[in-house]
């Protein structure tokens, strides 16, 4: 059986390479956390995997396969049918990623009709991300949502078409601790229910480690260490991983 996602890519902005032949494999149903400091190229990786990096002025070389299907070399219109359908994406901050002028309903409908015919029904979807499905909510403008609601909505967009793999780029960084925990729990549930493979990109090792099956450490554009969370925490090998683990807050016990 094919892996949900397999990639080996390099990415650069102009002449500066920011990802140096970063490779990864995610099996179906697996949750992989990718941790690294700000500026280590995490967001670049997410955009590179979606082949959206050129919109931010970057370029990608290498190979990306989703369920055995090679993405590099696909035309823009072919890529369009991949994005949101094969690869879901949950962006960083609902403040900027939601078009504040549009209604929730419009956003949902548009995301739906990108890959499906007819009118979608969003009750179950919204329920699964613990958002109300009533008219009042649907008629709200994106700018009027709270950050937690916004993030849940973005997750709903990400999983709407039951993608093979979900890329989540710092999905919890804008949230308070309690909401953060709830959203993480939501991801875990969705993973169990739908079997969606997930790539979690985060600087917050501790929070994502709790739900992931494997952790990759990204440092200066390279993956320096990879392994199950337990091993990473107990026996980090790479000096960078060690410093990362050491810097984590410990429970006061």
């Amino acid at each position: 059986m094919n892996n949900a996602l397999e990639f080996r890519i390099s990415a650069s902005y102009g002449k500066t390479e920011v990802l140096h032949s970063v490779a990864g494999t995610i099996a179906p149903g697996e949750i992989v956390a990718l941790a690294g400091l700000s500026g280590s190229g995490k967001s670049t990786l997410a955009l590179a995997l979606l082949r959206l990096l050129h919109y931010r002025g970057g370029s990608v070389t290498g190979s990306i396969t989703v369920e055995g299907r090679e993405l590099t070399g696909l035309s823009e219109s072919a890529m369009r049918s991949v994005r949101g359908k094969l690869i879901g994406y949950v962006p960083q901050s609902p403040g900027t990623a939601l078009n504040e002028r549009l209604k929730v309903r419009t956003l949902l409908e548009e995301t739906w009709s990108a890959h499906a015919e007819g009118a979608g029904s969003f009750g179950a979807l919204l329920e699964s991300v613990q958002l109300p499905g009533d008219q009042v909510f649907l008629n709200k403008r994106a700018g009027e949502l709270s950050t937690g609601q916004g993030q849940r909505l973005l997750i709903a967009f990400g999983i709407m078409h039951k993608p093979a793999v979900l890329l989540a780029d710092e999905p919890t960084s804008a949230l308070d601790v309690i909401t953060q925990a709830a959203v993480l729990k939501l991801f875990a549930e969705l993973n169990q229910k739908n079997g969606t493979a997930m790539l979690f990109i985060s600087h917050d090792l501790l929070s994502v480690a709790s739900i992931s099956h494997r952790v990759d450490i990204l440092h200066e554009g390279k993956i320096v260490e990879s392994g199950p969370p337990g091993k990473i925490f107990s026996a980090p090998e790479h000096p960078f991983t060690r410093s990362l683990v050491d810097a984590m807050p410990r429970r006061m016990d």
């Binding site: 959206l52 369009r80 994005r83 949101g84 900027t96 504040e100 548009e110 995301t111 967009f157 709407m160």
Partner: protein, 248 residues
């Protein structure tokens, strides 16, 4: 309330234009040769011009022409600007070309027996097409900002077709500027039509237009002799303010 009043006025003006033959007491080209430069009042509501044509009737018919064509041309320009604004070099180039020669060339290609109405239709069409660079230059900066936005990336990541993205996501952000540009272009085109008359592309005798009625204002003596010459200016201003109120 104000909005309703403004819409009512606009509808009234539009109705006047639509039913011009019923409202105008005379034909716009009827020459009362015995009463040139007649004062306002009596038989002629706003007096007559140098050939004894009823100013009021001319204004009503002029409204009919200008009020339809100028907004249509402005809409064409704004639409073109939205489509072409990403070509910023082209925009700059078009902003600085001596367009007047394009119009002179167009006039040369046009047969001489083109009727006054066809000629003015073409004039406005040309203005609409040629006038895209101004709004495009304004859109250009906003569009560049939008391109950087997170929501655009999100929309792309969810696989929406770009046409839908433009329509659903981008347009709401450009709407205010587009409407502002539209409102500026309408009177600009109405006025330019008079100057295009100087190269033979404006409205031809005997057809009246707001452009050639407004051009009369350039003769201060004429205005002091018959203040009703100011009427088109007042009406146009009223329409512009109402348009502003309605589209705000």
């Amino acid at each position: 309330m104000r909005r309703k009043l403004a819409s009512a006025i606009l509808i009234l003006v539009a109705l006047c234009a639509l039913f011009a033959p019923a409202i105008a007491p005379f034909d716009y080209d009827r020459q009362f040769r015995e009463s040139p430069h007649a004062a306002a009042g009596g038989q002629f509501l706003m007096g007559t011009d140098n050939l004894g044509r009823d100013r009021f009737s001319r204004l009503v018919y002029a409204t009919r022409i200008s009020i339809v064509l100028a907004p249509a041309a402005a809409a064409v320009s704004v639409l073109l600007a939205l489509m072409l604004s990403r070509f910023s070099s082209l925009t700059t180039l078009c902003l600085s070309l001596p367009w007047i020669f394009l119009f002179i060339i167009m006039r040369a290609l046009l047969p001489l027996d083109t009727g006054p109405f066809a000629s003015i239709l073409l004039t406005f069409a040309l203005m609409g097409v040629a006038g895209w660079a101004w709004p495009a230059r304004i859109f250009n900066a906003s569009i560049r900002q939008i391109r950087q936005s997170g929501w655009l990336l999100q929309a792309r990541a969810s696989g929406m077709p770009s046409r839908r993205i433009a329509l659903i996501h981008v347009w709401p952000h450009l709407r205010a500027i587009a409407v502002a540009q539209f409102r500026v272009l309408v009177p600009a085109y109405i006025l330019s039509e008079a100057s295009l008359g100087l190269i033979g592309l404006g409205v031809a005798e005997p057809l009246p237009s707001w452009g050639n009625l407004l051009a009369e204002l350039q003769r201060p003596q004429a205005v002091s002799a018959n203040p009703w010459i100011l009427a088109p200016l007042g009406l146009l201003m009223l329409v512009m303010i109402c348009l502003e109120e309605v589209s705000a």
